[in-house]
Symmetry: none
Amino acid sequence: MSRELTPRQREIYDFIRDNITTNHLPPTIREIGEKFGMSSTNSVRDVLNALQRKGFIKRRAGISRGIELTHSHTEEYRTIPLVGRIAAGAPITAIENIEDSFAVDKTFVPSGDIFALRVQGDSMKDAGIYDGDFVMVKKQSSADRGDIVVAVIGDEATVKRFYPEKGRVRLEPENPDYGPIIIEKKLPQFYIAGKVVGLMRRM
Amino acid sequence: MSRELTPRQREIYDFIRDNITTNHLPPTIREIGEKFGMSSTNSVRDVLNALQRKGFIKRRAGISRGIELTHSHTEEYRTIPLVGRIAAGAPITAIENIEDSFAVDKTFVPSGDIFALRVQGDSMKDAGIYDGDFVMVKKQSSADRGDIVVAVIGDEATVKRFYPEKGRVRLEPENPDYGPIIIEKKLPQFYIAGKVVGLMRRM
DNA sequence: TAAAATACCGCACAAATAGGCAGTTGTCAA
DNA sequence: TTGACAACTGCCTATTTGTGCGGTATTTTA
């Protein structure tokens, strides 16, 4: 279906895309024609028809500026809640706990229930996770051995490597200055909030 | 200046906003009128004038669908080009070099000319920058001492710490396994592409 | 209480816009 | 060499759309 574009088609497609991002508005047929020095609206129409046939754009008949990108760069992001405090018992992404939220590219995080958390301390420094980093966490109550998880103990959330052992759980930091945390499995104030699937850092 | 909106104005403002997010297109004056059962375009114009005067929208005269939201809740993210190859001479973000692009929250990267680059190798491992990470780079041709920069040498881009010295530049890795790179300043095939301002990692 | 703002109607007009038909030229593959 | 496709010109039409002028009635503000 979607064959390759010719240079001309690519050029015009790019112009439409840029126009949308710059002016928040798709161009009219004549605007395209003027830009590329075409004196006939039909010249543009031919190209638009080609783009539509090849599946790159959609058009809404009779509507001004009714050009829409199919491979829409418009909705490639998700909004992820940034969790402030984490308290045992309360659901993590309860509205009361959401401090902020930000946009992340869809291809960057797996689908499903994701939240973000700000890392405190440098106990995971040798895993490249630093104080102040934001980790993207996929909500799940269990994890595989060796996964980096967000564990909640009482009212504190901590990022550590997860090692299940007989009757207990070992949470291993990635920093020789810190020792492991051992949790007896029965503890009700302990649970796994999720698995770390991504990281963002401002520098 | 921007006083409160009347219920009617709020209603119409919301409709415009919803229309943009749903149809990726602002409505025409008549579309608004139809929606709210107004038979005169002037009824709509009055409200639009009020919205403009109060600073909620901007209008582009003579242009169809030329309504723009000022407090744009639509644009909390930016699209950053992911640069594939980097070749000396050619402008980095030339279309030929752009491999992909992805959305990033606006609050996450500074404004200005930003591109993303995939890190190869672990020479910056002790700065928490790992093989396969994406770094966000602010385009600039110079940097401060100690900044982490993207330097282009010939056809290769490398991420290192920047130390200007007399008549030359020292690029320092953050990994004891690697030594510094020394560049004589005159070299034309060497330049600073930008400064690393952020990092993203998939895990 | 007067002035300003709000929220409408109705009509008219010009510009902007999409769409259509007929034809030309060059390229490229069957 | 024929035919499909790409990329155009030119001209015409119908619809869409923004804008302008002149109104009315009610509410809010100074």
